[in-house]
Amino acid sequence: MKDQDYVYVTYIKAPADKIWEALTTPAFTRLYWFDIDVSSDWKVGSPVSYMKNGKALVDGKVLEAKRPKLLSYTFREVDTEASHEPHTKVTIELEPEAGTETVRLTVVHSDFVANSKHRPSISQGWPAVLSGLKSLLETGKALEFEG
């Protein structure tokens, strides 16, 4: 049995290509993603990892990468009680809103097993990450995260 999907949406006033860059380069992610560096060449089949102080917290593999529209990869926490669960799937879509300078960013996180131990970190993580990303791109200032 599968658990529910998580769907998050935010509207960001920035070009889609810039949002793509902010999602895929460590110089950006460490500013808004809890000091985490993303690491991948974003070619289909290549590894993806999210690292903090050189230690991988999340690993996965690129499934699809169509800059600046669609990015999809597998996702698994490293060294947590959720690590034995199969990889889940992250799908990020960027859709410019017609007639505006705003892009609708949708994150769907799916393929969770029932009662997944991923659930708390996912449901707290994405809203903070997306809110931080929006703030960084729209105001040029990153939010400060404690701890």
Partner: protein, 115 residues
């Protein structure tokens, strides 16, 4: 941001969000059921439309079925804008107090260390 506060200002809408937190992806039928004693399906639909407009609820279509998901990103933005800011001031005040106290405390520690 006005519309987020407006959407959250109604107890039924907050309850809908609570239900979606517990179980994401519910259809209108599933969401209307617990309210069926007091409220029409249309009324629930109206609440959902406002929540969707405020981006607190996101729709995902699966064939002809409309699934509703809680999207807490706007609530997070409120937290960032209105709460974290004040927390930061409190943290700054605490850390100023801490360094003042520790600064005053250092000579004593040194004395103790020397004796």
């Amino acid at each position: 941001m006005d519309i987020v506060f407006k959407a959250l200002a109604d107890p039924t809408r907050r309850e809908i969000l609570d239900r979606l937190y517990k179980q994401g992806g519910q259809t209108l039928n599933e969401l209307s059921e617990p309210f069926s004693q007091d409220m029409s399906r249309q009324a629930v639909m109206k609440h959902l439309a406002l929540l969707e407009k405020a981006n607190l609820v996101v729709i995902v279509w699966s064939g002809r079925e409309k699934h509703h998901h809680l999207n807490p990103v706007p609530i997070h933005a409120i937290q960032d804008r209105w709460i974290r800011k004040f927390e930061r001031h409190r943290m700054d005040a605490l850390s100023a107090l801490k360094s003042a106290l520790e600064g005053a405390d250092k000579p004593n520690l040194k004395k103790r260390g020397n004796s």
